[in-house]
């Protein structure tokens, strides 16, 4: 975009006094971020990897001993680990496309200049402002046996449902809760993306006589591809480490159906004092996260590749 021409850049490279001065300035300006990365990202990652290769008896005075991949081997044979992986995947495969499709539908609906669009946008975005712990509790109470949701269901002739206390409904209930929060949030990103599509494309398609559906699939979707993928990846990252609603409302239950990876790791490390297995799972989670985030970073578009 506005990067310095190659020739000028070359003369400022690290060899010349000016290049050295620039490098020094860059180091000073970047130092706080680099220190934070080492402190908050690198050290805990190393801690987790190191711990996952050790095994010790909880509370014992002997230092934990190096066991190589043994903890991982045990983990891969543990049924509860695979159940946690399975539930995490089921939850993510449903919740992320669902949220993004609904967010896209609302973004398109609310960027057509309908009366009051700004107000409707703001209202739909509002749940994103409520901290996750607060909205989890709010919905937890609303979904209780004699709460208002069941009140509405009985009023229209459907029997009251157990929701969070049923192994069959718990994942669906959590999807409902996080979607109430997420849809409006991702909708705002997509509205911003829609606004960036130049009007001429829409005019051209109108002159060609294309209907709204045709316009949506051959203009909007292709031109929105990048923000759409970005939002999908970012949503996936945040839902993969979902914690607050599970810890506050279900503790992973009933029957482990909501025992998503992040909660399982927490539970293993603190409630079951199984820190080594917890670390091994964390390493697996980290590998998945780094892979997803790398895709996300490419989708951000750095402004230097063209």
């Amino acid at each position: 975009m506005t990067s310095t021409p190659k020739a000028v850049q070359a003369s400022r490279r690290n060899g010349s006094p000016r290049g050295r001065r620039n490098l020094l300035a860059a180091i000073v300006f970047l130092a706080p971020s680099v220190i934070l990365i080492v402190l908050l990202r690198l050290i805990p990652t190393i801690t987790a990897i190191n711990q996952s290769l050790h095994q010790g008896i909880p509370g014992s005075l002997n230092p934990p001993s190096f066991v190589g991949g043994q903890v991982f081997a045990q983990l891969f044979q543990s049924a509860s680990f695979w159940q946690s992986v399975e539930q995490t995947l089921i939850f993510n495969v449903i919740v992320n496309p669902l949220q993004i499709i609904l967010a896209l539908a609302l973004a398109v609906l609310l960027s057509r200049g309908l009366p009051g669009s700004r107000l409707w946008r703001t209202i739909i975005f509002m749940p994103a402002a409520v901290p996750m712990a607060g909205s989890a509790i709010l919905w937890g109470i609303a979904l209780e046996p004699s709460g208002p949701i069941n009140g509405v269901l009985t009023a229209v002739g459907i029997p009251a449902q157990p929701f969070l206390t049923s192994p069959h409904q718990v994942v669906g209930s959590i999807i409902l809760i996080v979607s109430w929060i997420g849809i409006g949030y991702w909708m705002m990103f997509l509205i911003a993306g829609l606004n960036d599509i130049p009007d001429v494309y829409y005019e051209a398609s109108r002159i060609d006589g294309a209907g709204p559906l045709r316009t949506f699939f051959s203009i909007t979707i292709p031109l929105l591809r990048r923000p759409l993928l970005f939002v999908l990846v970012a949503d996936t990252v945040s839902n993969f480490v979902l914690f607050a609603p599970v810890q506050i409302l279900t503790n992973g239950g009933p029957q482990g159906q909501s025992n998503f990876l992040m909660y399982n790791i927490y539970n293993q490390s603190f409630n079951l004092s199984n820190a080594y297995s917890g670390s091994a799972q964390l390493v697996i989670l980290l590998i998945i996260m780094i892979a997803i985030v790398t895709v996300q970073f490419r989708l951000l578009g750095t402004g230097e590749d063209s």
Binding site: A26, S33, N150
Partner: protein, 278 residues
């Protein structure tokens, strides 16, 4: 145009209904904040309109939240968020400036490493990090609550994107006048970047206001509990008397709601710089 009018009317009605569906839980939260504790479920089973409008208005729930020390938790949350925004903005803006304006070898690689490491969700490394924090004697300190919020990949990214759009002629002119990078950063770039700074500040604020797992991990002293943790604790403590929980949740939600409503357009401009730039 005329044949579109019925369609527009239908779409408007759809928009209104969807907005109402999103709004109802918030209205219920507000109504439940101002009704007495034993009325919580009175109108939900069977359901009637009082579910959204208390029959007997009361401030009792707010009083009991205050008596339970909620103001201290709220104060902790505000302090942590405020320090995070100020210090976090300084740190993010400095790195964004180096990555957008100062030419040096390996700049794009450095940029990739910095943003990538901050994009890995913090929750994923929170548990091993909390073990290190307790070894370093940082458990139960404000510093422990603030530190993780200071580095934010999206904030760095947003600011760098904005800085890239500032014409380089400005910094070159300042450079000819003998200004060093610190001067250019402070007197050329920062004053021009108010909207991007507000957008990045919002990202930093929301991260801290949402924090839950980390405060659970590093704080065991109740005096230091942040508001979301305090609410989860009251929720666990009362099994049927939810009045106080509603009042606390309402207060916790209203603060970011006001901030976001006031600054909404900056949030939108800041996010529009992500994803769509080729």
């Amino acid at each position: 145009m005329n044949k579109n009018r019925p369609i527009r009317a239908i779409l408007t009605i759809v928009a209104i209904i969807v907005s109402l569906l999103f709004l109802l839980p918030i209205l219920w939260l507000l109504a439940s904040t101002f009704r007495s504790q034993n009325e919580t479920f009175a109108s939900s089973d069977p359901i009637n309109w009082s579910v959204l409008w208390p029959q007997h208005w009361t401030l009792g729930n707010i009083e009991s939240a205050i008596n339970n020390g909620f103001l201290r938790n709220l104060g902790n949350s505000i302090l942590v968020a405020a320090v995070t925004v100020i210090v976090g903005l300084a740190i993010s803006a400095m790195s964004a400036f180096a990555l957008a304006v100062i030419p040096f070898r390996g700049r794009s690689a450095t940029f990739a490493i910095i943003v990538l490491s901050f994009l890995v969700p913090f929750e994923a490394i929170a548990i091993p990090l909390s073990q290190s924090f307790s070894q370093w004697g940082l458990s139960n300190t404000m510093l422990a609550l603030i530190l993780p919020g200071l580095g934010n990949g999206l904030a760095v990214f947003t600011l760098r994107q904005f800085f890239l759009g500032v014409p380089t002629s400005l910094s070159e002119a300042a450079n000819l006048d003998g200004a060093g990078w610190a001067r250019i950063f402070w007197s050329v770039y920062l004053p021009l970047s108010r909207p991007a700074l507000i957008g990045a500040g919002l990202i930093l604020f929301l991260f801290q206001w949402q924090a839950y797992l980390w405060p659970v991990l590093v704080v065991s002293n109740q005096q230091l509990d942040l508001a979301p943790v305090a609410i989860a604790k009251s929720f666990g403590a009362f099994t049927s008397n939810y009045g106080q929980v509603f009042a606390e949740t309402a207060v916790l939600a209203i603060i970011p709601a006001i901030v976001l409503l006031a600054l909404q357009r900056y949030f939108v401009t800041s996010v529009s710089s992500t994803g769509s730039k080729e």
